[in-house]
Amino acid sequence: MTAAEIAEKVGGTVAVAADGAQATSVYVGDLLSDVMGHAGEDCVLVTIQNHLNTIAVCTLVGCTVLVICHSRPIPPDMAEGAAREGVAVVVTPLSQYAVALALKELPPSTH
């Protein structure tokens, strides 16, 4: 699923686009160590952590699309980091659970 398709499903907007970013599974989490330990490659990460460190985690575990909940703003250093690392960022007014429901056709991410 592409970032644009994900944005549409979660009623959000693509804040940072990334060429060819495709996601095949979903992980929901706000604790970065939890994401590090459990999220797999090519997943959508659904979180409220709107800062640069989330991008570092995405790059390390291979999350391709990041969905930021509750319309939290994307700070400029985060947007730059995402663009540099090729991580697409979608911002949505929905909560984590509502996003999970909206993306239910994708399987849970494991590794």
């Binding site: 160590s33 989330t54 570092a56 790059t59």
Partner: protein, 341 residues
């Protein structure tokens, strides 16, 4: 017309002598590298060291006209609206300009102040403040203590002044050190090993994850199996973050040999009093603002232990913590003569 005189919160202005009197940098931290010195400075200095403590403020029911007078007389561009240390908002020169434009000068400040505020905490490192100045357009941030009481205000100028001052001191120190340095022989090259080292600075969350990312890239270049590389990256990240948020600073070292990759994280203290407790899943001493960023889940050491083939922690309270994680690159050969099952 009632005449409010500005409230001055208690506390003293941080003066340059105080800044100078700060403990000198650990010589090991210098490592002869000036960028490390700058990073150390950004982490060592806290918002409270640099902020202005004599905060002028104005109560909610003062008028815009009174706010204007205080701003003008004190040559400042923003004034906290606060009562008994509780912060309600900020009234800025911009609000005054709008007030003049619309004839609101006799309105009370609470009608026109900015009330959803971005604030800093006194204990945050200066690197955080710089990040905030970068990410928001505000020229100043109110500073609250851990009881949410207004204790200061910080502007970009305060930060720059303190940093420039301290930098000049550190540069002089570095220059002296370089002059004293006798040329040292290069260590013998380790032909079978690839070794690289990253300095990790206390509380530099902006750079956190940089070493782990470079490690992942190096492993990719060296064609290390993807799933092994990922396990190594997970451990490297967790150990890097731990040095960053729990220690006074340290190094992350990667050694690649023919059949193993070793990640070692060594720092300069404060050490871990109870290693067994620290290794448990979910135990953490991280503070609230570190947690609010998603760190401090208490899973870092257990994550590292789980992904590594070999895991060891050594620590001495007040001295150091050293965590070693090793990863086999090749499957171990079945022992000769063993029966296949």
């Amino acid at each position: 017309m009632s005449d409010y005189s500005p409230t001055i919160l208690q506390g003293q202005q941080t003066n340059d002598d105080e800044i100078l009197a700060k403990t000198p940098l650990d010589a090991k931290a210098l490592g002869g590298d000036s960028s490390v010195v700058i990073m150390e400075l950004l982490q060592r200095f806290k918002v409270r060291d640099v902020m202005k403590r004599q905060v002028l403020s104005i109560p909610r029911k003062a008028t815009l006209r009174e706010a204007q007078r205080i701003l003008r007389e004190n040559h400042i561009s923003g004034l906290p609206v606060s009562e008994d240390g509780r912060l309600y908002g900020i009234i800025s020169v911009n609000d005054i300009i709008n007030g003049l434009d619309h004839g609101w000068m006799d309105d009370t400040v609470d009608m026109h102040m900015a009330s959803s505020l971005v604030v800093l905490e006194a204990g945050m490192p200066i690197s955080f403040a710089l990040r905030y100045f970068n990410n928001y357009t505000y020229g100043r941030f109110p500073v609250l203590d851990s009881n949410r009481q207004l204790v200061g205000i910080i502007s970009q100028r305060d930060v720059m002044r303190a940093l420039l001052y301290e930098l000049s001191v550190e540069i002089r120190k570095l220059e002296r050190k370089t002059a004293d340095k006798v040329a040292q022989p290069a260590p013998p090259s380790e032909t079978h090993f690839f070794r690289r080292e990253w300095a990790v600075v206390h509380n530099d969350l902006t750079g956190a994850g940089r070493a782990a990312n470079e490690i992942k890239q190096l492993l990719r270049e060296k064609k290390v199996d993807r799933s092994v590389a990922r396990r190594i990256a997970v451990a490297a990240y967790e150990l890097e973050i731990n040095i960053c948020i729990h220690s006074h600073g340290g190094v992350l070292v990667m050694v690649i040999s023919d059949n193993a990759v070793t990640i070692t994280a060594k720092d300069r203290g404060p050490g871990i009093p109870d290693i067994e407790w620290a290794c448990r899943d979910g135990t953490s001493t991280a503070n609230d603002w570190i947690r609010s960023l998603g760190f401090g889940a208490g899973m870092g050491l257990s994550n590292s232990k789980r992904v590594a083939d070999f895991f060891e922690i050594e620590s001495e309270v007040g001295k150091f913590t050293k965590v070693t994680c090793a990863f086999n690159l090749k499957k171990l050969e079945a022992p000769a003569g063993g029966t296949a099952s």
